[in-house]
Amino acid sequence: MSQTAQTVREDGIISSVSGPVVTARDLDARMNDVVYVGDEGLMGEVIEIEGDTTTIQVYEETSGISPGEPVESTGEPLSVDLGPGLLDTIYDGVQRPLDVLEDKMGSPYLDRGVDAPGIELDKEWEFEPEVEEGDVVETGDVVGIVEETVTIDHKVMVPPDYEGGEVVAVESGSFTVDETVVELDNGEEVQMRQEWPVREARPTVEKKTPRTPLVSGQRILDGLFPIAKGGTAAIPGPFGSGKTVTQHQLAKYADADIIIYVGCGERGNEMTEVIDDFPELEDPSTGNPLMARTSLIANTSNMPVAARESCVYTGITIAEFYRDMGYDVALMADSTSRWAEAMREISSRLEEMPGEEGYPAYLAARLSQFYERAGYFENVNGTEGSVSAIGAVSPPGGDFSEPVTQNTLRIVKTFWALDADLAERRHFPSINWNESYSLYKDQLDPWFQDEVADDWPEKRQWAVDVLDEETELQEIVQLVGKDALPEDQQLTLEVARYLREAYLQQNAFHPVDTYCPPEKTYLMLTTIQTFNDEAFDALEAGVPVDEIIDIDAAPNINRIGVQEDYEEYVDELKSEITEQLRSLY
């Protein structure tokens, strides 16, 4: 949380306390100003003003707080600190670094009333200037570079609220984030640290159509339902269907420059897993530790509900900051339903008129504001950067007709529907191929054609067709059994089975299978198609379907996923399949 916001305005007095909602009177504050509540100085935010009564949502537990205690306004909206040091850090919902909190509190439990700056104020960074005296810089321009982590060069920019001008002094060497590194002729001084209010999008020039995929290394996503860099996606699914594993996979393997992972109202142990795993895992594109490109925001389900409401904003503001540097950022929010519920909880404490299922009437507006901050942008400084937003949704009872899922679907362009039935039979990732969709497919095809294979779209369409046909045939099989089907349809079912078991399933816990580059995804599909084509040729030549299905080579299709040297394996397998099938007639 921002440290400079210390200008004390008129203090107020608490008049009532009910859970996270506190009202104060005689407080001179504006909407969304940050205030410190009570003798312990609990952080809160103004959410309603009526007459001289101000309503505050408090980001910390309010047990024991009583009326009559003071409320102090900072006169500043809720802001985050932006600067080097954001990466490789884990924050709570209001950008307090959790490791610093542990130190300060001297306890594994989260105590109250402890504040900590979002980035380390006394750490010195090696600043390399990119400008010289006499250069003219404008808002957003990069004035220097700091090596933030082994992976990421942090670009120090002229803050968006500066006017810019001629550089009159520039320093190089070691500086803390608050020391001035560049001075302009109009008196503006650029430091490494900036602040930005979380509920406001950082300015850009224009939003562009995204045309590059965010390659995830997950076959069903890259192969069938790709998301663009700068795109939006929703992953709804009932509990136990693998939302979090999917989000983790994306955070690990997506080819973004920066990953912002927001654990919003989810399990503590899950966040611990991320904290434990990420520093040890390798970033597949650079080989450096994954944490070097990651910032985590962890507001677990038992942490205060108001901070849960703000944590997605904290996340996306940090994402936008790196986008401004020209990076591709991917933000995972797990789960947006918990965020919506936090809004509902606060709203009901305010006794607002509820909308659908008790959610506040502004739910749809808030969701769309959030997802609209994602996109592929031309930045103020002329670079291009993107923020991709991927939100998990946890619909009650797995029912997708509930308000959060429905309002999300109206905005996002990629939909990965998780399916409890698939999860029950341990088909992972349990993304339902009939219900999911991606509206980016067409605009991303040229990339896949250039980078992977010319016939990428055709191959994909073939797979979709086979899977569709299987769904129809399965309905008949449910009634009459598989053996009652004509032979060609039995064969189609067999091909579809390989598509499901080999291609769509992917073992996130297998060291090789967990990440599948697009080339491998493509080769796997062509292998199954080879089997399909050769098998149908054999069938036409009069070979009984049982014999075709029983060839020794076919089950090896299921083992492509775990092969490290897949190219060789696939070549051999294709010729084995062809050979064995042709030998049947």
């Binding site: 707080i65 009583s66 594994p108 989260l110 142990n269 966040m271 389900s301 038992n302 039979r425 053996d483």
Partner: protein
């Protein structure tokens, strides 16, 4: 401490009183009735001049002349190692006729959230001796794994079996002192008879001396149920993180807890969420369930097995639904399996342990554990699907392959799941039974098992392979 005789309104479990000093949110209150009875309560809302108090024992007997005392502190639980072996009521007072409890510390029952940075990731296997859990939905220390059941099912027997059998591998291997194991049992609104069954089992097996029992029975005040689990978990945290115990917490029945929350919400005229339950129920439940876990640098652990009866056996009901979103998996007790006489009647298909993958495998359990479990899931799911089909077309109309899967599903239930409530199976035995069953299927059907494991464990003589080749010819 000031006394007030200023009660203005009494409504359901709530009492409103006028005050002329600042009263803290969540503060503890004592109300003395005209008959001299002392009732305890907690401040739910505090504003200038008026406080809302929820009374744990219910409001009957309170009139406008009753006197109200504010104790100036939030609810505390007196904790000490001597609690082991004791039976307490739902508010933490001894009811076993034993000596008074001399606390080492008095801890706030609203536990602070554990800093996710300070947690240690749970990955130590707990052997429960139940195949359906050890083999398919492995429990690890620090996990919260609820049992989803419905009325009339033997969920209590299952919970008792787990509590009885859950051993701590560390001790067996004799690695120094190790940590001791303790069970904390929190009953909320269960019947006297159910309570007796638990108590008899505790006494029969001698488990009582390493247990703390909190009893809020069906006829005890409903509002008290909202504090019972907090008392339980405060005790658990103390024993785990300060006294190095591995604590297993059994909470039954969470449904009664949620009903109590709803009752208070209704009395306060709050805007209700789904099915009348308060909108903050997710947060409230999370504050209980998230108190399971391990902390870096501390020996002990808190593992939770909350039991909840799903109204109408419907897992989309808000209570199981919200629980499932917070806990790390769930174990389903299935009425159909129960009527078939399976003990324990665990339906593994919808059951899940989220922490399983990191708690099993080489060095932790056995290298083939994960593959065996995955393959059995897939095979049982397929067999289960085929059962519907058999009802329509009969077994003869199915292929050889399908028949094998049907047999697999039957034997899986008979041999793997149905072990009886008294049988304690070691993991090794569970996995061997798993291989016996998997060997009914041809090798190439075992597409989720690593080839090396097939080589090592597949039973060539179990019939899966030879017959498959016969059909191919």
């Amino acid at each position: 401490m000031k006394e007030y005789q200023t009660i203005t309104e009494i409504s359901g479990p709530l009492v409103y009183a006028e005050v002329d000093e600042a009263i803290g949110y969540d503060e503890i209150v004592e109300i003395e009735t005209a008959q001299g009875e002392t009732l305890r309560g907690q401040v739910l809302e505090s504003s200038d001049g008026v406080v809302a108090i929820q009374v744990f024992e219910g409001t009957s007997g309170i009139d406008q002349h009753a006197s109200v005392r504010f104790l100036g502190e939030t609810m505390k639980m007196p904790v000490t190692e001597d609690l082991l072996g004791r039976v307490l009521d739902g508010s933490g007072r001894p009811i076993d006729g034993g000596p008074d409890i001399v606390p080492d510390e008095r801890q706030d029952i609203v536990g602070a959230a554990i800093n996710p940075y300070s947690r240690e990731y749970p990955e130590e296997f707990i052997e429960t001796g139940v195949s359906a859990i050890d083999g398919m939905n492995t429990l690890v220390r620090g996990q919260k794994l609820p049992i989803f059941s419905s009325s009339g099912q033997p969920h209590s027997e299952l919970a008792m079996q787990i509590a009885r059998q859950a051993s701590v591998p560390e001790e067996e291997e004799g690695e120094g002192e190790g940590s001791e194991f303790a069970v904390i049992f929190g009953a909320m609104g269960i019947t006297q008879e159910e309570a007796n069954e638990f108590m008899e089992d505790f006494e029969r097996t001698g488990a009582l001396e390493r247990s703390v029992v909190f009893m809020n029975l069906a006829d005890d005040p409903a509002v008290e149920r909202t504090v019972t689990p907090r008392m339980v978990l405060t005790t658990a945290e103390y024993l785990a993180f300060e006294k190095d115990y591995h604590v297993l917490v059994i909470l039954t029945d969470m449904t009664n807890y949620c009903e109590a929350l709803r009752e208070i919400g209704a009395a306060r005229e709050e805007v209700p969420g789904r099915r009348g339950y308060p909108g903050y129920m997710y947060t409230d439940l999370a504050q209980l369930y998230e108190r399971a876990g391990r902390i870096e640098g501390r020996e002990g652990s808190v593992t939770q097995i909350p039991i909840l009866t799903m109204p109408g056996d419907d897992d989309t009901h808000p209570i199981p639904d919200l629980t499932g979103y917070i806990t790390e998996g769930q174990i389903y007790v299935d009425p159909d399996l129960n009527s078939q006489g399976l003990q324990p009647p665990v339906n593994v298909l919808p059951s899940l342990s989220r922490l399983m993958d990191d708690g099993i495998g080489e060095g932790l359990t056995r290298a083939d554990h994960g593959d065996v479990s995955d393959q059995m899931y897939a095979a049982y799911a397929e067999g289960e699907d085929l059962r519907d089909l058999v009802n329509i077309v009969g077994r003869e109309a199915l292929s050889e392959r399908d028949n094998k899967y049907l047999d697999f599903a039957d034997r899986f239930e008979e041999e793997f799941i149905d072990q009886g409530f008294e049988t304690n199976r070691e993991l090794e035995e569970t996995l061997e039974i798993g291989w016996d069953l998997l060997s009914m299927l041809p090798k190439e059907e075992l597409n989720r098992v690593d080839e090396d494991f097939i080589e090592e464990y597949y039973r060539e003589d179990a019939g899966g392979e030879t017959e498959a080749e016969a059909t191919a010819d």
